[in-house]
Symmetry: C2
Subunit: 456 residues, 2 copies
């Protein structure tokens, strides 16, 4: 009998910190542990090299007419420091109450183990299950998945499937599962403004030239309207109108604006007119200043006119905005607005496309939605409702998981994102843990979901 | 016979770096050297303690009806690093061609020695000269003169005089002396804006609040008009209109706008309408951003909405602006304009009042100008014209020398600022030097000036 908690403990004991070059042993240990586990439940398993950390591909074949699901996960974890804040060592998993503590328990070893356990139980019970399954488990998620896109591009032929299934998103309460149906995209760049070629004495030269901080402030101030919209012509042109069902679904979360305001510690919200704060983060694109710098930033004063100043800008994008198009619009606007008495440079950082998937039977469900995907969504709804006692919510999230959009773009596959971790799980922080009750329910629900998908 | 060059060499050999706590010996050496020198030429000399570096007061008394001039100077110098860029050691003075090299040769030991030599020669020739002279030589000029204001406040009674005379300003060419007739004042403060109480993930929370960088940019962008004026109601109310003679005097400098633009390396000037760049730095107040900071400033990207952002603001002020009044106007404007969905703090730094003195016989010469001051100006004009072969120019400068305004405010005395150092003297930089031809002419002119003042 497959014991998911014991297996999870073993998995967590490998310190697979992808960001730490000295953690090679831990990476290898975690990778070989999962690969061995998948082999032991009947998968033909391959460790595929990439430029950095290999990706595990484990396949259960079958007849071509059987549905094919790719289960995604990652075997790498965040660094564990500051170590002194952990109650028990991060790589010595401990169970306290109904929780298992350790680095990676919630992100992503526990949720991944949930689906491995579900598959193990299901195949033990139904060895003849008419379902092709591929586990695709990467080792660079915590460092931005640099090898992932080249990997799926290279192995496109082997990754033909009906949909992708994963748990690497959150839920608000143990009884309220969320199926994430959208993620924002990104475009990021820096603006570097130069005034004089060297820093100047503000007494000797102050009053003859435009300070680059002033030029930058004027530019930045022009990029929003007073009512909170991004003030760049064409910015909203491709934004998909949100459907009433999406607003209704979000309203079921029952969040309090006042509590959210207090959590943020701000005097008042400043959101796009016509959207609640909860809607604004999920349904609308943004333009944010992530950092600004220039001139003297120390204690006291230095009466300098700096030569340079810069700002780091990021836009969160929603369907169907295109990151390159938005970046080009912004560049055009900045070139038009920047005062002509300074020079400037635009430094491209990176892009990520937004993602949205619509469950079946909604006002905006695509007419050509894959029947297997629709079946997976219906199975998830029914199974989660049965096991967790409450229907899941279908929500877009404000964050970005670029691999989901990459999978859609390169492989043409949508994802069913079954949320499993809780706010109190302390992801990326000391004393990370995972709720074993949620895990057990997750296994039961996942087993049912996969069985229903197979039924065909 | 007093040999000013040998005396200057000896003065320079004392490494009197006021900013360097380990340079106490050098400070003491320089101080005692000058005090001894002044004693040797007949002055009654006192080293007056202050909170940090003592001030030398050396007095030549006389009948109460004799005019009384205070000659200001400073015996401290800038640090000498980077030492490897010096061709000869900074505290081992060397003469190459008509220049003497060493830290402090131009700032301020050479110019100070010029006046000591002038006084020595004059008193040798005319031991009965009807002129009271006080040397007031401080040791903290290069660290902002923190002890100077308390000193003149405390010793106000001993510092009753007709005017102050000094050389601690520059000239554009060896044959063109400038008498500085105005200095800008200062008011400096920081604006610190806070949005959320902690840094936020721009995906999860982007779109619901005003980013403090945005609030700061909006504020900063509002502080100037497109035509280069400071956009703060009342800012220009007290600005003294510049007189036609001042513009004419400045025009005689014959500076090239194109050369200045190339020196700065800017595509175009951005000065207050109706003023040349050279006028703008001297006759107009400014508001500059000396530094700005907030959020992520490293390589690459971090998609954060920062909790805080700040800007460091300084205003250069002209007569008759009052630094406290201007600061209060700015604070009022900032409080009115700052968006209400962020919080902010205004952090006062420091203030310095502007200074202006009008030579005699000008359209705006005060009717009650002291006859001794007027005589000093006329003597300076005639003596400099005779010795340097060209009439001096009477110009305001863009920089700030707060002690000059403090002397005016506390002691009621105007200053005759006889410029002596050249752009190529490398003040505050490696290979500082002083032009010995300028020094010798300066001694001759200064001797004549002081003799004329004494004539009465």
């Amino acid at each position: 009998m497959f014991d998911p908690v014991e297996k999870l403990k073993e998995f967590v004991r490998h310190p697979s910190i992808s960001a730490d070059p000295s953690a090679k042993e831990g990476m290898k240990g975690a990778r070989e542990f999962v690969a061995g586990l998948l082999t032991s439940i009947g998968f033909s398993t391959e460790i595929v090299p990439t430029a950095l950390h290999p990706i595990i591909l484990a396949h259960r074949g079958g007849k071509p007419e059987w549905p094919h699901v790719i289960i995604y996960g990652h075997y790498d974890v965040q660094p564990a420091d500051p170590l002194n804040l952990w109650q028990t060592p991060p790589f010595e998993p401990q169970i306290r109450g109904h929780r298992i503590y350790g680095r990676g328990t919630a992100d992503n070893k526990g949720p991944l183990m949930t689906h491995i356990a579900a598959v193990a139980r299901l195949l033990e019970r139904r060895p003849d299950l008419p379902l092709r399954i591929t586990f695709m488990i990467e080792g660079e998620e915590e460092t931005g998945s640099p090898s992932f896109l080249p990997f799926i591009e290279k192995h496109k032929d082997r990754l033909q499937a009906d949909f992708v299934y994963l748990s690497d998103t959150g839920i608000p309460r143990p009884d309220q599962v969320v199926i994430t149906c959208g993620l924002r995209g990104l475009t990021l760049f820096d603006v570097v403004v130069t005034g004089s070629k060297m820093d100047l004495h503000s007494g000797l030269h102050g009053g003859v030239l435009r300070n680059p901080i002033q030029a930058l402030a004027e530019l930045c101030a022009s990029l929003h309207t007073p009512d909170g919209r991004v003030n760049v012509p064409g910015f909203y042109d491709d934004v998909l109108e949100v459907e009433p069902w999406e607003r209704a679904e979000l309203a079921k979360l029952g969040q309090s604006e006042e509590q959210y305001r207090e959590f943020l510690g701000i005097p008042a919200f400043h959101a796009h007119k016509g959207y609640t704060p909860f809607e604004a983060t999920r349904f609308l694109p943004t333009l944010e200043f992530n950092g600004i710098g220039g001139g003297y930033q120390g204690e006291g004063t230095k009466t300098v006119i700096p030569s340079k100043a810069f700002v780091k800008i990021s836009c969160r994008l929603v369907p169907n905005q295109n990151p390159e198009k938005i970046r080009d619009l912004l560049y055009k606007t900045i070139r038009e607005r920047m005062p002509k008495d300074v020079t400037f440079e635009l430094v491209d950082q990176h892009q990520g496309i937004p993602y949205v998937v619509v469950p079946p039977d909604r006002s905006n469900t695509p007419k050509d939605q894959s029947p297997v995907l629709a079946r997976a969504f219906r199975a998830a709804d029914a199974s989660i409702t049965e096991v967790f006692g409450k229907q899941p919510l279908y929500l877009r999230e404000g964050g970005s998981v670029p691999i989901i959009a990459d999978i859609k773009r390169v492989l043409g596959l949508d994802s069913v994102l079954f949320g499993l971790f809780l706010p109190e799980d302390n992801l990326h922080a000391p004393n990370e843990s995972f709720d074993l009750n949620v895990m057990e329910k997750g296994i039961r629900a996942s087993e049912k979901i996969l069985e229903s998908v197979a039924k065909g």
